[in-house]
Symmetry: C2
Subunit: 474 residues, 2 copies
C-alpha cells in the first residue's frame, strides 16, 4: 500500500467528497497525526478532535500537543474529556470499552455540530490484523473475520455520519517512516506497551509467535480479511433478498418469518437471516453467539412438540402453522393475521348483514337465491374463510361467540362423527394463543362453522337445499 493511493482510497473506498470537512480523531500518536496530514494534503478541510481520557499523567500534555499541531497546520481543533475510570466503574465497563464509548460519542457529536461529512480515525493495517486475530481467538463468522472496513454507515454511533478508516491498508512501520520524513513528532502512548490490555498482549506476544510459523503472517491475515470482506458483501446481498422474501411481519419487539420460504434458503443464508432478526430484536448485542443461531436453525428445521423455545436472554422463537415468530418475551404479538373476538364479545348474525370484528376483520352474511349456483361456487371455493350453508338445517338466529368448555364439532367430511372442539383445534393447528377468542358460528347448541377451518356436517349444503346462506370472514 502506497501513500499515493490515499486520495483514491478516500474517494472510492471511503466515499468522501474532496473539499468538504472531515472530523479526524487525533490522539497525538503517529497514526492520527499521519491521518490528519494526509487528509489535509488530499484536499479535505480537517477538524482535529482530541478526547482526553484522563488515564495517564501526561494526558494533559497530549491535549496541548494536539492543539499545537492543529494550530501549526492551520486546522481547527476541538477537544473535550472525562474521567474514564469513573465512567467505567459506574457502567461496569472495562477501561478500554469505557474510553471507546466516551471518545466515539464525542467525535460523532462534534462531527454533527460542525457538519462534517465523516469521522475519520487512524486505524492501520496492524490494527486490522489485531482486530481480526481477536475475532479469531474469540470465534467469529465472516462479519468479524473481515475486520474493520474503510467506511461504515450506519455504525454504532450514527445513522447519518459515516465512520471512515483511510489508513486501514497502511502498516505502522510505514506510518513511522512517514512521520519521520515529514517532521512529525508524535507523542508515545506508554499504555500501548502494557500487557494488561488483551490487544497489547496480542501485538507484543502472540503475533511474533505466529510470525515464527509464517514470517508473512500479518500481510496474509490482512489479505484474508480483505477477501472475506468481499465475500461478506455477496452474502449480505443474498441475505437481504432472503430477508425481504421471508419476512411476514415486523413490529415492536417481534419479527415474523415464513418457515417454508426460510427453509428453501441454503443454511448459510438461513443463519444470516436469523442473525438479522436477533440483531433487530436485541440491537445492543455486538456478536451473536453461534449457538443461538444454531438453536434457531435447528428449531426451524425440526420444531419441537411444543412449537416454541427460548433462544437466549429473553428472546423466544415459536412456530404457528407456517409462521415463525421471533420475539422479545415481553412483546405483544399482533392478532391482525387472524380473526379474533374481543374478550367476552358475542353477537347474533343478521341475514343479510355485516359485522365488524377487531383488526379490520368483518363477517358478511348473504342470502342466495340460486341453490345450484351456490353449490357450484361452494365446490370451486378454495378460501377457508368462506362457507355456504343449508339455511333450513340451521336454528336461527346464528350466534358468533368464542369457545366454551364442552364444545364439540361434527366436521364436514367425517361422516357426522363428532369430536371435542379443543382436539379439533389442536389437530388443525389453530395457533395456540388464538384459540380462546377464535370466532365460532353457532346454531342452537351446535357449532356450525370454525371460520378458516371447517364447517359442520349437519349444516352443509345438500343437493336438496332450497335456501342457502353464504358467510364470509374478510
Amino acid at each position: 500500500m502506497m501513500f499515493e493511493q490515499i486520495p483514491t482510497i478516500l474517494q472510492k473506498d471511503c466515499s468522501l467528497k474532496p473539499g468538504c470537512p472531515i472530523l479526524a480523531g487525533v490522539s497525538g500518536g503517529p497514526d492520527s497525526l499521519c491521518l490528519a496530514v494526509l487528509l489535509q494534503r488530499s484536499g479535505y478541510p480537517v477538524i482535529v478532535a482530541h478526547y482526553n481520557h484522563h488515564l495517564r499523567p501526561e494526558a494533559g500534555d497530549d491535549a496541548r500537543f494536539v492543539a499545537e499541531f492543529a494550530e501549526a497546520n492551520g486546522m481547527r481543533c476541538v477537544g473535550s474529556g472525562a474521567d474514564v475510570a469513573e465512567y467505567a466503574e459506574i457502567h461496569s465497563l472495562s477501561i478500554e470499552e469505557a474510553a471507546r464509548q466516551l471518545r466515539y460519542q464525542y467525535l460523532f457529536a462534534q462531527a454533527q455540530l460542525w457538519r462534517c461529512q465523516a469521522v475519520a480515525v487512524g486505524h492501520t493495517a496492524d490494527d486490522q490484523v489485531e482486530t481480526v486475530l481477536m475475532h479469531l481467538l474469540r470465534g467469529s463468522g465472516l462479519a468479524g473475520l473481515r475486520g474493520m472496513v474503510y467506511r461504515s454507515l450506519p455504525n454504532t454511533w450514527s445513522a447519518e455520519v459515516p465512520l471512515v478508516r483511510p489508513l486501514l491498508g497502511i502498516w505502522r512501520s510505514e506510518i513511522l517512516d512517514f512521520c519521520a520524513a515529514n517532521g512529525l513528532q508524535p507523542v508515545q502512548d506508554a499504555s500501548n506497551l502494557e500487557r494488561f490490555y488483551f490487544r497489547n498482549r496480542l501485538r507484543l506476544d502472540l503475533l511474533p509467535i505466529l510470525e515464527s510459523y509464517n514470517p508473512r503472517f500479518r500481510p496474509a491475515l490482512w489479505r484474508m480479511a480483505n477477501i472475506l470482506g468481499a465475500d461478506y458483501e455477496v452474502l449480505e446481498g443474498q441475505a437481504e433478498a432472503a430477508w425481504q422474501e421471508c419476512q411476514r411481519a415486523v413490529g415492536e419487539g417481534y419479527i415474523c418469518l415464513g418457515r417454508s420460504a426460510l427453509l428453501a434458503q441454503p443454511l448459510g443464508i438461513q443463519r444470516a437471516v436469523i442473525r438479522r432478526a436477533v440483531a433487530l430484536l436485541r440491537p445492543g448485542i455486538r456478536d451473536i453467539d453461534f449457538a443461538v443461531v444454531d438453536r434457531a436453525t435447528d428449531f426451524i428445521a425440526s420444531p419441537p412438540e411444543t412449537n416454541q423455545a427460548d433462544l437466549f436472554a429473553g428472546l423466544k422463537i415459536a412456530l404457528e402453522g407456517e409462521l415463525l415468530w421471533l420475539r422479545r418475551v415481553e412483546a405483544d404479538l399482533p392478532g391482525v393475521q387472524w380473526p379474533q373476538l374481543l374478550p367476552g364479545q358475542e353477537f347474533e348474525l343478521e341475514i343479510p348483514g355485516n359485522h365488524d370484528l377487531s383488526d379490520g376483520w368483518q363477517f358478511v352474511c348473504e342470502l342466495l337465491d340460486d341453490p345450484a349456483d351456490a353449490r357450484r361456487q361452494a365446490q370451486a371455493n378454495a378460501d377457508p374463510f368462506q362457507a355456504w350453508f343449508d339455511l333450513d338445517s340451521l336454528s336461527l338466529p346464528l350466534l358468533v361467540r368464542g369457545r366454551r368448555a364442552g364444545d364439540t364439532l361434527s366436521p364436514l367430511g367425517m361422516g357426522g362423527h363428532s369430536l371435542k372442539l379443543s382436539d379439533f383445534m389442536i389437530n388443525c393447528k389453530v395457533p395456540r394463543r388464538a384459540r380462546a377468542r377464535w370466532p365460532l358460528v353457532v346454531s342452537g347448541n351446535h357449532i356450525a362453522w370454525v371460520p378458516g377451518f371447517r364447517l359442520a356436517h349437519p349444516f352443509r349444503l345438500k343437493v336438496v337445499s332450497l335456501r342457502v346462506i353464504h358467510l364470509s370472514l374478510l
Copy 2:
C-alpha cells in the same frame, strides 16, 4: 458431538447408504479403529485398508495389528505399501505429502476394485482445527478456512468415489474414551510427537498458546469452520450461476469470459469466477494465491494499454473487445467467433454466389432488383456483417483478401476522408490476433468493406443507385 449422532452424520452429512460397503483407511491408531467400529455398528460392511509407509521400524507390526483387528471384528482387510521416503525423493515431495499421495491413491484404487460406495478416513475435530489453523497461518480464503468437509466429491483422487470424514465433529479425547470403553487398544504413532512436522508443531506448541488466550479456542475454531462452510456453499452457488452467465467459450487450455457480465458481479463473485477459471486451466494447483486473483480482477476493472498481462506461471489474460481470454501460454485460441481467411487465401466473389471460409463462415452475395427496397433494408439493418453496395460504383470482380501493407480505407460517415487500414483496425478494436487474416472486400485497389465494421464511402448505396448488391458474411 455425541457418538449417537454418527448414524445420522453417515446418512445425512456423508450421504452414505446403509448396507453398502465402505472402504475405511485404517492406520491402527485410535481414530481409524474407532471409525471402522462405528461404521460397522451403524450397519455398513467395512473393508479395512492399511497402507504401510515403511517410515518407522514398527510399521510391519502396525500392519499385522490392523489385520488382526479386522479379523477379530469380521471385516475384510486389504493392505499394501511402498518405500515412501524413496518416492518422496524421486518426486521432490515432502515425506508427509508423498505418504499422503501414495496412501490415497491406494485407498481409492481399492475402493474402486471392491466397488465401495466411499473411502472413509478418521479425521477428527482436532484434525479439523489443525487444518484450519494451517490455512490461517498460510493465508486463505473461505475455501481453506472452512477446513475439511464430511463428504467431498469430486475430490483430488476420484470423480466417482466420495471421500468421507464421519468423525470430523468428534474430539480426539472422546475417541480415546471410546477406545477405552470398547476394549480397543490402538497402536501409538510416535511420529505424532515429532516437531519436525509442521502440523505436529501446531498441535503441540501453538494450540496450547492460543488456548491461553481463549480456553475454548479449539471449539470456537471448529464452529467457525462449520459456519464458514455453509457460507462457502452459498457463495459457490452464486459463483456457479455467474460462471454460467459470464462464460463465452471454453476449450483446451483457454476460457473466454464476457467482461461486462463479469464486471456486473460483486467483487467476491468476480474473484470466485477467476479462481474457477484458474483451477480449470491449472488443475494441479491446490491453493490459488490471492495476488493472482487480484491481478486478474484489477486487469478486468482497468485493462492496461496492451490489453494483455501475465497472471502467473504460464497463464495469461487478454482482453479482445468485450471478451476476456484466460489461457495457458501454449494454448491455441479458437477463431470461430471471427471470420478468418486461411493463410494466403484470396478469391473473387461471384455475383450472385456463396463462398465458404473456415470455421463455418460463409460469404453470400446477391443482386437486388429493387433499389428503394434495398435502401430501406440497409437503413433498418443493425448487423455489421451485412452491407449493401452501389454496384455501378464498384470495379468488378470483387476480391476477398487479407490486409496488405499500405491499405487505406475511406470509412462511410467520414465524408470521404481516408485513413490507414491499420489505424482503422486499432480504432475499431478489431482483435489484434484476428487482424492479419480478417477478410476484406476489395474493389480494384480500394477496400470496399471491412465486414463486421464499416463499408467504404465511395461504394455506398446512393439515392440514385440503380443496381444494388447485398453482401453478407454468415
